[in-house]
C-alpha cells in the first residue's frame, strides 16, 4: 500500500471511486463527440489534405518545388523532421523516466503523452522519406541482400544511424504504449454490451488480447513495464543524440559541435513537454478530463519546462562562447552571422521564445494558470522550431567559401507540407482521443487511495 505525504495536493479531484473513473474514461469512447472536437477535427483534416497534395506535387515534379538551392540543401524539411522528433520525446520520457522515479502524477498524462510521441514520430518519419530526391528507392537505406553483388548500406553515415534509431524508437514506443493499453482495452471490452454496441465490443475484445487481470499477469505486467521503461529511457536520449549527430559529425561551422547531443536532447524534452501541455489543455476540454488533468499536473510540467528551458539557454551561451574561444575564424563568423547576419530575426525569435519566455514560470501565478501555460507552450513550440531552422539554414547559407554563399526562402510547397503534418498529427490525436482510453485508468485506480482527493480529505 503506497503512502503519500499529506501536504501534497490531490492528483485526482472530485472524490472519484473506481467506478467513476471507469465511467469517465470510457465516456468519450461511448458517448458522442462535443462540438470542440468536430471543429478541431475538420480544421486539421483540411490541413492534412492540403499537405498530402503538396507532398504529391513534390514527388511528382522534384525537390525543386521547394526553396532549396546548391548551398542550402536542407531547410524546412529537416527542420520539421527534428522538430517533430523533439516533440516525440516527452511522451516516452514521461512514461519511462517518471515511472522509474515513481512519479505518480505521470499516470493521468502518460497515455496521451505516449500517443503524442507516436504520432509525432510518425510525422517526423515522413520527412526523411519525402526529402529524398528519389523516394521510390528509399529501400536502398536498409541492408537488404540484392542482385547488385550484394551492395550494402554505409554504416558510417549518421543518416543511416537515424534510420535505425527512429525505427527502433517508434516501434518500441508503440509496444510500450500497447502493453499499457491492454488492460484498459479489456476494461472497455467488458463495459460494452454485445447488444447495444456489438461492433465496439468485438473491436475491443480483439484489441484487449483476452486480458483478464490475473495476479500473475499483473505481476509480469509491472515487471515488463519497468524493464521497458528502463530500455526506453536510454533510447530517448540516444535517438535525439543520434539526430544531433547528423549535424555534429559534419564539417560545417555551426554544425560541427560536440555539445549537440545533450543540447538536442534537452531541447527535445523542452519542446516535448510544451507540446504535451498544448495538447492536454485542449484535450481536457474536448473530452472533459478536467478532473484528471489538474493544474497540479500542468504545474509539474511547467517546472520541467522552466528547468529545461534554462538549460537550453545555457547551451546557446556555451555555443557562442566556444565559437569565440575556439579561435577558428570560420566558427567565429558562423555564430556572429547567426546573431547579426541576414537571419538575425530567426535567432532573435529563438532566443526570446526558448530562453526568455520560460523564465516567466518563476511566477507561480503564471505557472498555475491554464491560459498562460497554453500561450507560453505555443511560444516554446515556435521557439524550438526556429532553433532548428537557425541551426540548419544559418549554418549552411554561409559556410567556408564566400563564393557559394546564398540564402533560402521557402516555397508555398514547403509551407504546405509543414502545415500538412500538423494537420495529420491532430487528426491522429483527435481520433485517438475518441477511441482510446486516454488515461491509464488501471494504473490511476491504484493511486486513488493515496492521491485521490476524497481520501486526502478524510485524513
Amino acid at each position: 500500500m503506497q503512502k503519500e505525504a499529506e501536504i501534497r495536493d490531490p492528483l485526482i479531484l472530485g472524490n472519484k471511486s473506481f467506478h467513476d473513473i471507469t465511467k469517465d474514461i470510457s465516456k468519450p469512447v461511448e458517448g458522442k463527440a462535443n462540438k470542440y472536437w468536430w471543429i478541431l477535427f475538420s480544421l486539421s483534416m483540411v490541413l492534412f489534405i492540403w499537405g498530402v497534395l503538396c507532398m504529391a506535387y513534390t514527388i511528382g515534379t522534384g525537390i525543386g518545388a521547394w526553396g532549396l538551392n546548391k548551398t542550402v540543401n536542407w531547410a524546412w524539411d529537416i527542420t520539421n523532421f527534428v522538430w517533430w522528433i523533439g516533440i516525440g520525446h516527452a511522451g516516452t520520457l514521461i512514461s519511462a523516466v517518471l515511472l522509474l522515479f515513481r512519479q505518480k502524477w505521470r499516470m493521468s498524462i502518460n497515455r496521451s503523452a505516449e500517443a503524442m510521441t507516436i504520432f509525432g514520430v510518425a510525422q517526423a518519419a515522413l520527412f526523411p522519406l519525402i526529402h529524398m530526391g528519389r523516394p521510390w528507392l528509399a529501400y536502398y537505406v536498409f541492408p537488404i541482400p540484392n542482385q547488385f553483388g550484394s551492395l550494402w548500406v554505409n554504416f558510417n553515415s549518421p543518416l543511416l544511424w537515424d534510420v535505425f534509431a527512429i525505427s527502433t524508437y517508434f516501434s518500441v514506443s508503440v509496444v510500450f504504449w500497447y502493453i499499457g493499453l491492454i488492460p484498459d482495452f479489456a476494461m472497455l471490452r467488458d463495459r460494452m454490451s454485445a447488444k447495444t454496441a456489438p461492433m465496439k465490443k468485438q473491436l475491443y475484445s480483439f484489441l484487449s488480447f483476452g486480458w483478464s487481470g490475473k495476479a500473475k499477469h499483473w505481476q509480469r505486467f509491472e515487471e515488463v513495464s519497468l524493464v521497458l521503461a528502463g530500455l526506453a529511457t536510454p533510447l530517448v536520449f540516444s535517438v535525439h543524440s543520434i539526430v544531433s549527430m547528423d549535424f555534429a559529425t559534419s564539417v560545417i561551422p555551426g554544425w560541427h559541435t560536440t555539445i549537440f547531443p545533450p543540447y538536442f536532447v534537452l531541447g527535445a524534452l523542452f519542446s516535448g513537454f510544451a507540446m504535451v501541455e498544448t495538447l492536454l489543455i485542449i484535450m481536457r476540454k474536448v473530452v472533459n478530463m478536467e478532473a484528471y488533468i489538474t493544474i497540479k499536473h500542468i504545474e509539474y510540467m511547467n517546472i520541467i519546462i522552466l528547468l529545461t528551458g534554462s538549460l537550453v539557454g545555457t547551451a546557446y551561451i556555451t555555443e557562442l562562447f566556444m565559437s569565440w574561444y575556439s579561435g577558428v575564424e570560420f566558427e567565429q563568423y558562423a555564430f556572429l552571422n547567426r546573431a547579426t547576419g541576414p537571419y538575425w530575426w530567426a535567432y532573435a525569435i529563438m532566443m526570446t521564445c526558448n530562453v526568455l519566455t520560460p523564465q516567466l514560470y518563476w511566477f507561480s501565478s503564471i505557472r498555475k494558470s491554464f491560459v498562460a501555460t497554453f500561450i507560453l507552450s505555443i511560444f516554446v513550440n515556435i521557439g524550438m522550431w526556429f532553433e532548428r531552422f537557425v541551426i540548419i539554414v544559418t549554418s549552411l547559407h554561409r559556410d567556408f567559401l564566400p563564393s557559394s554563399w546564398t540564402m533560402f526562402s521557402p516555397s508555398f510547397i514547403d509551407i504546405g507540407i509543414y502545415l500538412g503534418t500538423i494537420g495529420f498529427f491532430f487528426v491522429l490525436f483527435l481520433l485517438y482521443a475518441r477511441t482510446f482510453p486516454v488515461i491509464a485508468q488501471a494504473e490511476l485506480k491504484s493511486i486513488v487511495k493515496s492521491s485521490g482527493s476524497e481520501y486526502k480529505n478524510k485524513k
Partner: protein
C-alpha cells in the same frame, strides 16, 4: 466427489489483500485472483514466484547486440569493404566508433520487442483472445478471488464473508 468453485468478490484492494493473507493462513488454496489494477504485494501474499521477464530481456538484448555487430562486421569489413571518406575499414576495431549507435539501437530493439512477445505468449494473450475472467466487473471496480473447494463449502464461504467479501458466487464443476 464434487468439486466446487467459489468466487469471492471484494470492493477494496486493501480488504482483498488482508483476506488473501488470512485465507492462505487457513490453508485454503486460492486458485486465482482477478483485479482491475495491479495490487501491490498481492503476488507475495499469494506466494507467486518472481517473474523472469527481466532476465529474458537481458538475453534478448545480448542477442541483438551480437547480431548487429555481426551484420556490420560482415557488411563493412568482410563482404564489400569500401574506402569511405578514408575511414579505416581494415579491421572491425578500426571502424567501430562509427558503428556503436546502430549496435546500441539493435540491442534495445531486440530486447524490447522479443521481451514483449514473450510476455504475451506466457500470458496467453493474442489478438482476439478470449478473456477467462469469471466476472466482467473485475476490469472495472471489483476484485475477485477464485477458490476451488472440495468438501465443506460452507466454511470457506464463511471465511470469505468474514474477510470482507461483499458477494459470493458458487459454481459447480
Amino acid at each position: 466427489m464434487s468439486k466446487n468453485t467459489l468466487y469471492g468478490i471484494f470492493d477494496c484492494e486493501l480488504v482483498l489483500l488482508a483476506a488473501v493473507k488470512e485465507i492462505r493462513a487457513n490453508k485454503i488454496e486460492i486458485k486465482e485472483v482477478y483485479s482491475p489494477f495491479p495490487v501491490h504485494g498481492l503476488d507475495k501474499a499469494l506466494g507467486l514466484k518472481e517473474t523472469r521477464m527481466a532476465i529474458t530481456a537481458f538475453i534478448y538484448g545480448c542477442i541483438g547486440l551480437s547480431l548487429a555487430a555481426l551484420m556490420i562486421y560482415n557488411i563493412m569489413i568482410i563482404d564489400w569493404p569500401q574506402n569511405i571518406g578514408g575511414k579505416p575499414n581494415f579491421t572491425f576495431y578500426h571502424n567501430m566508433p562509427a558503428f556503436i549507435p546502430i549496435m546500441f539501437e539493435c540491442t534495445v530493439l531486440f530486447a524490447a520487442h522479443l521481451m514483449s512477445i514473450t510476455y504475451l505468449i506466457r500470458n496467453g494473450l493474442y489478438p482476439g483472445g478470449e478473456s477467462d475472467s469469471p466476472d466482467a466487473r473485475t476490469t472495472d471496480d471489483k476484485f475477485l478471488m477464485e477458490i476451488e473447494v472440495e468438501g465443506n463449502v460452507a466454511d470457506v464461504k464463511a471465511m470469505l464473508t468474514k474477510t470482507g467479501a461483499t458477494e459470493i458466487n458458487e459454481k459447480d464443476a
